[in-house]
């Protein structure tokens, strides 16, 4: 019991801090942060654990969002079922394209993913315009039935739902890190030849990682669809293809809480800076370059060791009361 609590406490602390943020920040902001962090953790896993940089996350986001959107617009009303369908679609699509993609080298991988994003974008915008209503998108906010226990068609209850989902997702990724499989992922990033020598199949490990990460992204897509009440091709826009990569690096590649910190910083900066100078790309761009030149650790990657140290000192000396989240 105590052990499992110890295992969970970092995640619980992180998300209770985020829940407290709800008291100070407006609801759309917190929701956006939660969704964005779930969106990013897939990319973080691919980049930090398996060594794949993906400029194609919007493709999988759109797959999840459109699966949920089609269901809600044409067939049913239950939002939970819609999310389940979105996740299912994510699994199917990533298992379909995965075997082809994961054979490629990291930089080619980034580009074929980008290509997939462009294909899905135009598929949804033009080719399937009869079903997807083209640029107008599918609007189904009124179709979402209110569910008894947790009514996720309302933004405030959606927040609770998103928080629970995020805790589950983070628990899952933390669990992955601890398993042998997580170690294999890291090994395939660091030295694939040795891993092969040990008798593991790089291909299978990468395929599984690819499927896991993109299913998480599809889950985020389905949740976006429910939250916004619409899906439009804009969700797969190639112009935003680098967002998850930027957030991953901003937060700290390969760290567990990196996506959370990154999403918080990114959304916050987008809000604050666009109010101040209306030119936040300038800032994000140079911040990205700065972080890369400063050692690509990101915000959380830099902060984490210091917080751990501060926390450690606190336990020994008992001075200072700043709460630290640590893995």
């Amino acid at each position: 019991m105590l052990n499992s609590l110890k295992w969970w406490w970092g995640i619980l602390l992180a998300f209770s801090l985020l829940a407290m943020l709800r008291l100070f920040a407006p609801l759309p902001f917190v929701n956006e942060v939660l969704l964005f962090s779930i969106y990013t953790i897939g990319c973080n896993f691919l980049l930090g654990r398996v060594g794949f940089i993906s400029f194609g996350q919007p493709a999988y986001l759109a797959v999840g969002a459109y699966a949920a959107g089609f269901y809600l617009y044409y067939f049913g009303t239950n939002p939970y079922l819609a999310i389940l369908l979105g996740v299912l679609a994510g699994v199917i699509v990533s298992l379909m394209v995965g075997p082809l993609f994961v054979r490629l080298r990291s930089d080619y991988f980034a580009l074929v993913n980008l290509a997939l994003t462009v294909i899905i974008f135009y598929l949804m915008q033009k080719v399937l315009a009869g079903v997807t209503k083209g640029d107008n998108g599918l609007w189904f906010l009124a179709n979402i039935a209110s569910t008894p226990l947790l009514d996720i068609s309302r933004p405030d209850q959606f927040f609770i739902f998103a928080l629970l989902v995020a805790i589950a997702v983070w628990g899952f990724y933390k669990y992955l890190d601890d398993t042998l499989y997580g170690a294999c992922c890291l090994a395939s990033k660091l030295n694939e030849d040795k891993l092969q020598f040990l008798g593991y199949s790089n291909f299978r490990i990468r395929l599984l990682a690819f499927a896991i990460a993109n299913t998480t992204t599809a889950l985020a897509g389905a949740m976006y669809a429910i939250y916004l009440g619409l899906v439009s091709p804009e969700i797969a826009s190639p112009a935003r293809a680098a967002d998850p990569v930027v957030v991953t690096i901003l937060g700290g590649t390969g760290t567990l809480y990196g996506p959370l910190v990154g999403a918080l910083a990114y959304t916050g900066m987008k809000d604050v800076i666009s109010k101040l100078i209306g030119n936040w790309e300038l800032f994000i761009g140079f911040l990205l370059v700065f972080i890369m030149l400063a050692g690509e650790k990101g915000i959380w990657g830099t902060l984490e060791p210091r917080l751990t140290k501060a926390l450690f000192r606190e336990r020994n000396g008992g001075s200072g009361s700043k709460p630290g989240i640590s893995r």
Binding site: L123, M292, L293
Partner: protein, 290 residues
């Protein structure tokens, strides 16, 4: 089936976009071949070239002067970026340079927005006359684009094959260590190659500006296509880049003739296909790790 006149003008259209793609992709390809970096910021020099062309042509009324100015500014900008940023990260892995250069690109788009604003700017077409090819009227300016691209290819070929610096660059594409071992300062070569790449991207932007609207996001729009050209041709191969640039141009323009939405999608489908069959691209060689 398809009207012959329509077909000819589509082929010329495809060749002219292919020329622009070639001018941009050649820089990327050279940078990858020699320095093993993926320099997304070429799109920034492309936008810069287009914007300077717009501003200069507004003041002087001459597009040619504008393009020249665009090339010079692009060269200066690429020199500054190379000295300030890339010099520090040459020995990092490819994905790292890709992300860093993407940061430069986004930051540069911000700078452009700051100076020129968000409004798309039109640039007048310098040559409006038409030339008749087999009964089809073809804009001379598009033919000029194709000619310039072929000239650049010829010039580059001469430079790489007939001058000692060009030979050193080609040797560097084979093996940087050996060139360094011969006592050649490879970092000079890197800087030179980077500036050539940036200047050609600036040229592409300046030449393409009259045919499109000049706007801050123009670099991001063309990014995917340029990348595709480099990938299909094989990273580091100059001949492959020329072939695949014209190929992609044709796919875009003929695809839109057959079925309009195809214009944007078909090249990506072709790229996926080529990559899955031959992961190194058409002319790429197997040397992939440094």
């Amino acid at each position: 089936m398809i009207d012959a006149q329509l077909l000819i003008s589509a082929v010329i259209f495809g060749l002219s976009i292919g020329s622009i793609f070639f001018l941009m992709a050649i820089g990327l390809s050279l940078c990858f071949g020699l320095m093993r970096i993926i320099s997304l910021d070429q799109m920034l020099y492309y936008s810069l070239g287009a914007y300077i062309t717009y501003s200069v042509s507004l003041v002087t009324g001459s597009i040619a002067l504008g393009v020249l100015g665009g090339m010079i500014v692009a060269a200066i900008a690429s020199f500054a970026v190379e000295r300030l940023i890339f010099l520090r990260i040459y020995d990092r892995d490819i994905a790292f340079t890709m992300i860093t250069s993407f940061g430069v690109l986004i930051g540069g788009v911000g700078v452009i927005k700051h100076f020129w604003g968000l409004v798309p700017r039109p640039v007048m077409v310098p040559i409006t006359s038409q030339l008749s090819i087999v009964g089809t009227d073809v804009p001379v300016y598009r033919l000029l684009l194709i000619a310039i691209a072929l000239l650049v290819y010829g010039g580059l070929w001469l430079f790489l094959n007939r001058t000692i610096i060009g030979k050193a660059i080609r040797a560097g594409i084979e093996s940087v260590e050996h060139v360094e071992g011969l006592g050649i300062n490879v970092y000079r070569l890197f800087t030179l190659t980077f500036i050539i790449a940036g200047t050609l991207s600036g040229l592409a932007g300046g030449l393409y500006a009259p045919l499109i609207m000049v706007e801050p996001q123009m670099g991001l729009e063309v990014l995917a296509f340029v990348f595709m050209v480099v990938i299909i041709g094989g990273l580091g191969s100059i001949k492959g880049t020329l072939v695949s640039a014209f190929l992609v141009g044709q796919i875009v323009s003929l695809g839109s003739l057959v079925y309009a939405p195809l214009a944007q999608m078909a090249p990506f489908a072709v790229m996926l296909l080529i990559l899955l069959i031959k992961p190194t691209g058409l002319y790429g060689t197997a040397f992939l790790k440094r």
